[in-house]
């Protein structure tokens, strides 16, 4: 909300130091979003005293004057105005000043005489249309004073952020009250004086015989008042009102509409002026019915938009015209005040906050009125504010205000639901204990009183308790804690000493899951992978594009209101996001990509309100670990780099019985057949690893090969063992034997190891594969040579060569028997 400090200072003292004022506003809860100085265009224009005035030697209409501008020596100015004379005070634009129209004042010579400035007319200063001569200032104008200050042209306009709990601050008078409480000083509201100016026309037909109000639902409209002003002349507003409205960014429309706006900004009371003649039924009665809109009912609002309404919205209607205004939001076009309007029906009312808010949002229609109603407009005082508005209308547009037959106020007033002030207790010791500071009782009482609360002693006589009645314009003050907030913010949060909680019962702990997450992150980084984050949103076709089978991934979680079609469901796999990042990097010339992400995937299930969320770990590897160096040629990534990362993870998490099971093409269509494996720990499936299918990679516009894996983190955490078992460090020497088995391609490493392990028994400590060799001539077609370094050792003695030879012979024999292997000589 924009606040003109010039206007505000009519009602309360505003500190001269704007910076300090803004800081204080900020700290007490009224955010200052912008500070705009207006009137600054007249910088360099000051009050000058014409000391001397002589005829220009070379001109019959120009004068050469000496002007005291408060800068010591008088300045010499050549002036052509007819009314220039010695002894008068005039506005002087000094050298360097810039006048409206970007007119810069420079030193110059006029017909050979130097001139250092300009004496100005009203028009030259942009203050009036008068250009008949110099603007002559009163004799007591202080020489040297900036003209903007002297004429009170300068103003500072603050753009304030009023929090949604403070509808009372959405007006000049409300802000004056707030500033009064901030500085513990008095403010003055002009309401009583303005309302007192209202004169009622007893000669006219009584307002309550011209207007009838029916409120269908008191919740939607707790109070509705109407006045009739007859014989107005719609026309331009007076300058002072135009200026005040302009200062806070409001364009002048006409005197009637401007008055409604002026009262809105002054008191926070939205008003609406109807053209009474257009509102009247055939019988001459204006029957206002405040009711729910019918679904599908239409209204053309003041902005010219034809709008379809719903029953959630409230309308002002008449039996004959139907809806004439959208309650609290905007008036209708058909009944608006025009230049031809003579009689006005002035509405002052209050409407339900939540419904107004929804109406605005659902229609995308926001107004100064709706903004106030959705925060709450006080039902008390409406008649007074309406009286002030009616009196002001008469003042600026003429006419008379109709008296009423049923009351002395000249108003038709339906008030089916009156709010009651809230009585509260304020326990001073509890307040101080909760704030952590001793805040004096006198300060508490003063602050609450200045905010408009009635503060008195506790009726039960408890000296530690205050009885506080909150005003109805503060709907946010409903509970004791609400009062605490008020006192704290105005007494000063900065005055509360900083402490740390001292409670004895707290222990910082990390869960098993978090330890697992830490380990996973450590292993990923140690393996050279870089953590990234991608969108949790996905395209509905992502799984298809990835060729990933949807089995076990539930249904996609669909967004009701996605930002765009590309992000209309929640992801069921992290891999599509990572593949997009691979493509992003590759398209920018970054060929070596090692990324991982740990995050949630989402599976919906029919009949379940919330989806299943699973934490997944996914990684992608493309290119190589790094570019070749002078002493280092990293190999291009393949299946085994992905597998190696998982092996490291298994070691660090102490996963029992890690296994990789080859996945067939139909089991994992997203992976390249023959380079795809399921990852298991014991019988538990942890996830998969493999080279992504070239078609899947291509579908994401990335370049194959891309190695990827995706594991379920909760499964990892469940399988992880918190500690590993100790194994004795060998005390006796080992014997190493190498053997190369020539086997069919179909015989896996796992199979050979299983055979060796069972045949080698206790003595076989390790079988390390150190070479795989294929050669059609030397090894044979469809065969491979698998060379192992075997380590034999006994825990309790040094093995004899005889023992080793026997064990080795047995092992080789068994492996050959079980796998059809031949030992390569």
């Amino acid at each position: 909300m924009k606040v003109s400090l010039k206007w505000l200072s009519e009602y309360v003292d505003v500190p001269a130091d704007t910076k300090a004022f803004c800081d204080r506003l900020d700290l007490t809860g009224t955010g200052v979003e912008a500070v705009e100085k207006t009137g600054a265009a007249l910088d360099g224009v000051v009050v000058g005293f014409v000391e001397t005035c002589e005829q220009h030697p070379d001109s019959d209409h120009m004068h050469v004057v000496g002007v005291d501008v408060g800068a010591g020596e008088p300045v010499q100015i050549v002036c052509g105005a007819p009314n220039i004379a010695a002894g008068i005070k005039v506005p002087v634009a000094c050298v360097g000043a810039v006048l409206p129209g970007d007119f810069k004042i420079k030193k110059s010579k006029l017909r050979g005489v130097a001139s250092s400035g300009m004496c100005c007319s009203g028009r030259e200063l942009g203050l009036s249309g008068d250009h008949s001569g110099i603007m002559v200032l009163p004799e007591d104008a202080p020489v040297g004073m900036p003209i903007a200050d002297y004429l009170k042209l300068s103003d500072t306009v603050l753009d304030l952020e009023i929090t949604p709990n403070r509808p009372d601050c959405l007006s000049m008078v409300g802000m004056a009250r707030e500033v009064g409480a901030m500085y513990r000083t008095d403010y003055e509201s002009p309401l009583a004086d303005m309302a007192a100016k209202l004169e009622l026309d007893a000669a006219a037909a009584p307002v309550d015989e011209q207007v009838k109000i029916t409120i269908d639902d008191a919740v939607r409209c707790p109070r509705y008042t109407a006045r009739v002003i007859r014989g107005c002349k719609v026309g331009p507003s007076p300058d002072w009102m135009v200026e005040r409205l302009a200062a806070i960014g409001q364009r002048s429309i006409n005197n009637i509409v401007d008055v409604t706006n002026y009262i809105l900004f002054l008191f926070g009371q939205p008003l609406h002026a109807f053209d009474l003649a257009k509102l009247k039924n055939a019988d001459g009665l204006a029957h206002i019915v405040v009711r729910a809109a019918q679904d599908g009912e239409r209204l053309t609002t003041l902005d010219g938009e034809d709008r379809e309404l719903t029953s959630d919205m409230t309308v002002i209607s008449t039996p004959e015209l139907g809806a004439v205004a959208l309650a609290g939001v905007m008036g209708g076009l058909d009944t608006e005040v025009t230049d031809e309007t003579v009689d006005i029906l002035l509405e002052a009312a209050t409407f339900e906050a939540g419904r107004t808010s929804r109406t605005s949002r659902n229609l995308g229609l926001f107004s100064e009125s709706s903004m106030r109603y959705e925060r709450g407009v006080d039902d008390h005082g409406i008649a007074e504010r309406s009286a002030a508005a009616a009196a002001l209308m008469v003042e600026v547009a003429g006419g008379t205000v109709c008296a009423a037959a049923g009351n002395d106020e000249g108003v038709v007033d339906e008030w089916p639901a009156s709010s009651t002030p809230c009585d509260l207790r304020f326990r001073i010791p509890r307040f101080c204990a909760m704030m952590g500071a001793d805040i004096p009782r006198a300060d508490i009482v003063d602050i609450l009183a200045r905010l408009g609360c009635a503060v008195s002693e506790d009726p039960a006589g408890d000296a530690d308790v205050l009885a506080v009645t909150a005003p109805t314009f503060r709907p946010d003050l409903e509970r004791e804690i609400d009062l605490y907030e008020e006192v704290l913010r105005l007494w000063g949060m900065d005055r509360i000493p900083s402490t740390l909680p001292g409670g004895p019962g707290r222990v910082g702990t990390r869960s098993h899951l978090e330890h697992v997450l830490d380990t996973v992150n450590d292993v990923m980084r140690a393996s050279g992978l870089n953590e990234t984050m991608t969108y949790s949103f996905a395209e509905p076709g992502d799984l298809d594009r990835l060729r990933m089978a949807p089995e076990g991934l539930g249904e996609p979680v669909e967004l009701i209101n996605p930002l765009n079609a590309d992000q209309s469901v929640m992801r069921q796999s992290i891999v599509p996001g990572l593949l997009r990042s691979v493509a992003y990097n590759q398209s920018r010339g970054v060929k070596n990509v090692q990324l991982y992400e740990m995050g949630m995937v989402f599976f919906a299930h029919e009949g379940r309100k919330q989806p299943k969320e699973r934490r997944r770990l996914a990684g992608v590897l493309a290119g190589a670990m790094r570019d070749a160096g002078w002493n280092d040629r990293p190999a291009a990534f393949d299946f085994f780099d992905g597998k190696g990362v998982i092996e490291s993870l298994a070691r660090e998490l102490a996963l029992p019985k890690l296994r990789f099971k080859a996945l067939a093409a139909d089991e994992a269509p997203h992976l390249q057949p023959g380079r795809a494996a399921e990852v298991l720990s014991g019988g538990t499936v942890l996830g998969w690893v493999g080279e992504l299918h070239p078609l899947a990679v291509d579908a994401f516009e990335a370049a194959a090969p891309v190695v990827a894996f995706e594991l379920d983190v909760e499964a990892l955490a469940k399988a992880a063992r918190p500690a590993r078992d100790y194994v004795d460090v060998p005390a006796f020497p080992a014997v190493s034997m190498d053997v190369a088995f020539v086997v069919d391609e179909g015989v896996s490493h796992e199979k050979l190891v299983q055979c060796m392990s069972s045949a080698g028994g206790k003595l076989l400590e390790d079988a390390r594969l150190f070479d795989v060799y294929r050669d059609e001539k030397r090894v044979g077609a469809g065969k491979k040579s698998m060379a192992y370094a075997l380590t034999y050792r006994a825990a309790d003695r040094t093995l004899t060569s005889d023992e080793v030879d026997k064990a080795h012979e047995r092992l080789v024999k068994k492996v050959c028997g079980a796998t059809g292997a031949e030992v390569r000589g």
Binding site: R479, G505, M533, M570, G599, Q610, W630
Partner: protein
């Protein structure tokens, strides 16, 4: 010994022979010492040693032939031969040491490298900036005795809004601001015909779960991903991260809130930074405040970074509203508490000057590997 030199006849003859050995050995000594001195490397020196002291060595031959020396002369000749042997061995050892030293020096010299050549380093991976900041903050609170809590990202309206005292018509609950998801439970939704299931807009829901599920006192922080319906641009993302904290205990004061967040800011941004608390409004806390940290660039003077204010807004906080405590079954007359929340992306911007938040989600290796 002098007397023996006067013998004649056979004796003299033998003596001449004996004298011959002594002379030969003396000559051998000179000759060998000269060859040792001339040996150019350890291999040559070894040849000398083998030639003299090896199995078939010349001096070894003399030692072997001692049996043929006359008994009475044997001691004399033997002594001489031994003296020569000792001298030769000493010379060999000395020369070997010298040659070894020279060869080592030469080898070291030859092995010198350009130490400015790149080393052989494992490529370590990197932590994402957002998680690195989350780790840092979590660590600070772990030290203060807090526990880390997690909650679902797809939440119900109750935990995201209602239990946090958000009014039913609060604008943040609208379709324009919150992502709602299809509710597959078949239940009718209670809010405006929209779904009751949504992507959490704040991690505050975790606080409600904590108040419902945990024993008092509660000291938790809840870091996590949240979603708001903002189109991605340099300063907005539809998904971002928050860290929220919650304390519920007896005797918790606003001063405790100030002290805790002041400590946090100093830990994250530096000891020299100041904080200030500005009164504000949030539905789930009362009194509420926003916390600013003094600008690290201008130190409060006002600059472009802080838009001339000297302060950077980083946190929202307040005392837990008694309604929120009551709804979770905690007696607000007995317990009080505070809650706070901060945007991790905001800290990333302030601390690392990330110019465009979208970089955090692109996975650009050139960005990720900076941290």
């Amino acid at each position: 010994m002098c007397a023996r030199w006067g013998r004649r006849g056979e004796e003299t003859e033998r003596k001449r022979e004996d004298m011959g050995i002594v002379d030969e050995v003396a000559a051998l000594r000179e000759q060998t010492l000269a060859r040792i001195a001339q040996a150019a490397d350890t291999a040559a020196l070894e040849q000398v040693r083998i030639g003299v002291l090896g199995k078939a060595g010349t001096l070894t031959g003399h030692l072997r032939s001692m049996g043929q020396v006359a008994k009475e002369e044997r001691a004399q000749v033997g002594k001489t031969v031994n003296e020569v042997r000792v001298a030769v061995e000493e010379a060999l050892a000395a020369r070997k040491a010298a040659l070894d030293a020279a060869e080592l020096a030469a080898a070291i010299d030859a092995a010198a490298v350009d130490v400015t050549l790149p080393g052989r380093a494992q490529q370590m991976g990197t932590r994402h900036l957002i998680n690195a900041i989350t780790d840092e903050v979590s660590e600070i609170f772990l030290g203060l005795g807090y526990t880390v809590a997690h909650g679902p990202e797809v939440e119900t309206d109750y935990y995201n809004f209602e239990a946090l005292n958000a009014p039913a018509d609060h604008p943040s609950r609208s379709l324009a601001d919150t992502f709602y998801v299809v509710d597959r439970s078949g239940e009718a939704s209670s809010v405006r015909g929209e779904s009751d299931v949504l992507l959490r807009t704040q991690t505050s829901g975790v606080q409600v779960h904590a108040m419902e599920d945990r024993e008092l006192p509660i000291y938790v922080i809840a870091p996590g991903k949240v979603y708001r319906r903002d189109v991605a641009d340099p300063s907005h993302l539809p998904q971002f991260h928050q860290i929220e904290g919650l304390v519920v205990d007896e005797g918790i004061t606003f001063g405790d809130l100030k002290g805790t967040l002041d400590y946090l800011c100093k830990q994250v941004f530096g000891e020299e930074r100041k904080t200030r608390f500005r009164a504000h409004y949030f539905p789930f806390t009362e009194p509420s405040a926003e916390v600013d940290v003094s600008c690290g660039i201008c130190h409060g003077e006002g600059c472009r970074m802080c838009k001339g204010t000297g302060w950077l807004e980083i946190l929202g906080c307040g005392m837990v509203d008694p309604n929120v405590l009551s709804m979770s079954g905690i007696d607000p007359e007995k317990y009080s508490g505070f809650a706070f929340g901060m945007g991790v992306e905001r800290i990333a911007c302030l601390k690392y000057n990330v110019p465009d938040l979208r970089m955090l989600l692109e996975g650009d290796m050139r960005f990720l590997r900076q941290f």
